[in-house]
């Protein structure tokens, strides 16, 4: 959670695409709802009675190891796959109700190739027209989203000649066409170089508050940075779900990485391994216990969230450590999503 917030690129008002004319609305708090959804491929059970409720306006992550059922769940939300049993609803409609969801659901599928012979602009215009836009509006919308992903220069290029990163961004552009209410992104930054991945992350962050975003990804740091909430899947089952703060226990524990004393400091008379002020830490109001992992040099401090908050505890723990001349390498709230997923999907 260290990235600086970046304002999304300004859009030229005259080139903004108007909203699709006749969106069929249904009032609801859940943007995406899965009720006891099961998917089998022959004998193989890919998703097992999964129930999820993704609130409108959230950026929601689907997390899990390979074979956890993320992509299958994602594909059912997008209507690519039909559940063996259970119900998948997007904006109150079945995920296969194309007419009702036209222009309201944008999807970035994983590994779906763009049509090689189509020019980028022409492809986006075709997609926009299928969403019900008139030709002139479709052109404006296509230019709008292509600018948003930083690819306006590619307008006349054939999709088959784009690099992987460029193709990914064009695919992302088609998902954002017409400002959909729900955007599903499957591995949006997979295979992208760090700079482009960063830009895509900023773009996704910029969607916050404008629409509901569901992201399936292996990149847990990315999800932790971008998402409001997430579901952790394993072997097709829901292992845990909740806000990122809940999942990482960010409001119940902090972790301090203790640095080693440098040779120069030892030479100057400092202790090689200064003793940690564990008693002082234990006496901080609200702190219930601590854990010191010598090998990882990680000090975990657990507290009662009703009595105090993470920021207060961080300040007091750091004060105690600095007074004891302990070197500090880093501080995190909670366990980190990665560690949490490792703990939950360990077996």
């Amino acid at each position: 959670m260290t990235a600086e917030p970046v304002t999304p690129e300004e859009k030229a008002p005259e080139e903004k695409a108007p909203e699709p004319a006749a969106k069929k609305k249904k009032s609801h708090e859940s943007a995406v709802k899965l009720a006891k959804v099961t998917k089998r491929f022959g004998d193989k059970l890919a998703v097992d009675e999964l129930t999820l409720n993704i609130r409108a306006g959230w950026i929601y992550g689907l997390i899990g190891p390979n074979g956890a059922g993320k992509t299958t769940t994602f594909s059912m939300m997008a209507g690519y796959l039909e559940p063996t049993s259970g119900q998948v609803e997007v904006l109150g409609f079945s995920s296969r109700s194309v007419d009702e969801l036209r222009g309201r659901l944008g999807v970035l599928p994983q590994d779906a190739l763009l049509p090689a012979l189509d020019r980028v602009g022409e492809f986006l215009i075709h997609m926009a027209r299928l969403q019900g836009m008139e030709k002139i509006k479709a052109i404006a919308a296509a230019r709008d989203v292509l600018r948003e992903v930083g690819g306006l220069d590619w307008w006349d290029m054939r999709c088959g000649t784009l690099s992987h990163g460029m193709a990914k961004r064009v695919a992302l552009a088609q998902a954002l066409l017409g400002n959909p209410d729900v955007v599903l992104l499957d591995e949006p930054t997979a295979g992208l170089d760090p700079r482009v991945a960063y830009e895509v992350r900023q773009l996704v962050k910029g969607l916050k508050g404008k629409c509901t975003v569901v992201i399936s990804s292996h990149n847990l740091q990315e999800l932790e940075e971008v998402c409001d909430a997430a579901a952790i899947l394993d072997h097709g089952k829901l292992i845990a779900s909740g806000t990122i703060a809940e999942l990482t226990a960010a409001s119940e524990e902090i972790h301090v990485r203790i640095g080693r004393t440098s040779k120069a400091q030892v030479a100057a008379g400092a202790a090689k391994s200064p003793a940690l002020p564990l008693d002082a830490i234990r006496q901080i109001p609200g702190v219930t216990r601590y854990e010191w992992d010598e090998e990882r040099r990680d000090l975990g401090v657990f507290f009662e969230r009703k009595q105090t908050d993470a920021e207060t505890v961080i300040g007091q723990v750091l004060w105690a450590l600095l007074n004891a001349q302990v070197r500090i390498s880093g501080v995190t709230k909670g366990r980190g999503l990665e560690q949490r997923v490792m703990d939950l999907t360990d077996e």
Binding site: Y80, R102, A112, L114, L130
Partner: protein, 303 residues
């Protein structure tokens, strides 16, 4: 958005894609070369018939033509009717109905399977009804093959027009009718090709299966033809009319011969409205069954 608009958008894109793809261009060139070959055959055939009847007039020519057609298995009524039609145009019709399935198979095998293979179809399924996507593919393929056959017809007709074998009037009456007949027949092959293409994720498998399916469709036609010739040979003592009737598709068509769409050309050329209606009905039924089945299965398919 109405399904008709979706279909038009998908079909329009399919047409554009086929025209500019390398495969489409090569096939187009080969088809045009083939059409010139057909013209050469026509010229050779027509010159041969004219030489045979010597300096005799049009009536003698038509008489020789009618007898030849009956001998080749045409229905006597149809043969009499088409005897007024230039040999060139009926030859072109035969070429079109034979080239049609080949073009359909080569242009259409990856029409849907290509999108399924790399999951490109996913960009469409969130925006268009699956059945209208499939219908768009069907009309797009039917359209592009019909455009190629129309080009072939026009170029070939121009060549024989210059040669003096047909008149402009012949082209706009018989020529257009021949093309329409070939287009209806191509529609039936297209429906089967789209059905097969929508069932496979590997285009090569779709291509092989399309050829296999087309062979299975040709086989009943061939069996019917062999049976009719068998009957004709066994009725040697009968009158020539009886022999002709026994060997004719129109008078003696068996139910399974309807499985072979190229056999409908005699029905569609017939002067009798019932025959034409039967031919058109068979074409329509073919298309409805295969496109309908493909749509129903595709709607349930995991993409």
């Amino acid at each position: 958005m109405s399904p008709a608009t979706e279909i038009a958008l998908v079909a329009g894109r399919e047409l554009k894609k086929s025209i500019r793809s390398v495969k489409g261009i090569i096939l187009g060139i080969l088809t045009l070369l083939g059409s010139f070959l057909a013209v050469l055959i026509c010229i050779w055939l027509e010159s041969g018939v004219r030489e045979k009847i010597g300096g005799a007039g049009t009536e003698a020519f038509q008489d020789a033509y009618e007898k030849g057609a009956v001998k080749a298995g045409a229905d006597p009524a149809v043969a009499h009717y088409v005897a007024h039609m230039p040999i060139s145009l009926i030859t072109f019709l035969k070429v079109l109905v034979w080239v049609g399935p080949l073009l359909v198979a080569l242009l259409g095998f990856d029409s849907v399977s290509g999108d399924l293979q790399h999951r490109g179809v996913r960009y469409w399924t969130v925006r268009s009804r699956r059945w209208s996507y499939l219908l768009g593919k069907f009309f797009g393929l039917w359209g592009i093959v019909s455009i190629v056959t129309a080009t072939l017809m026009i170029l070939s007709s121009l060549a024989v027009l210059i040669r003096g074998y047909i008149t402009i009037g012949d082209f706009f009456t018989w020529g257009v009718r021949c093309w329409l007949i070939s287009a209806f027949i191509v529609g039936t092959w297209t429906s089967v090709a789209i059905f097969v293409s929508s069932r496979f994720k590997t285009p090569l498998l779709a291509l092989l299966t399309t050829f296999g399916a087309f062979f299975c469709m040709w086989l009943p036609g061939f069996i019917g033809w062999a049976m009719r010739w068998g009957s004709a040979l066994s009725s040697q003592g009968d009158s020539p009319e009886a022999q002709a009737a026994a060997s004719s598709v129109v008078s003696n068509i068996r139910w399974y011969e309807y499985l072979y769409p190229n056999g409908y050309d005699d029905l569609l050329l017939s002067p009798k409205p019932m025959h034409v209606a039967a031919g058109l009905g068979a074409c329509a039924l073919y298309m409805i069954v295969f496109v309908g089945l493909a749509s129903a299965l595709f709607a349930k398919k995991d993409v």
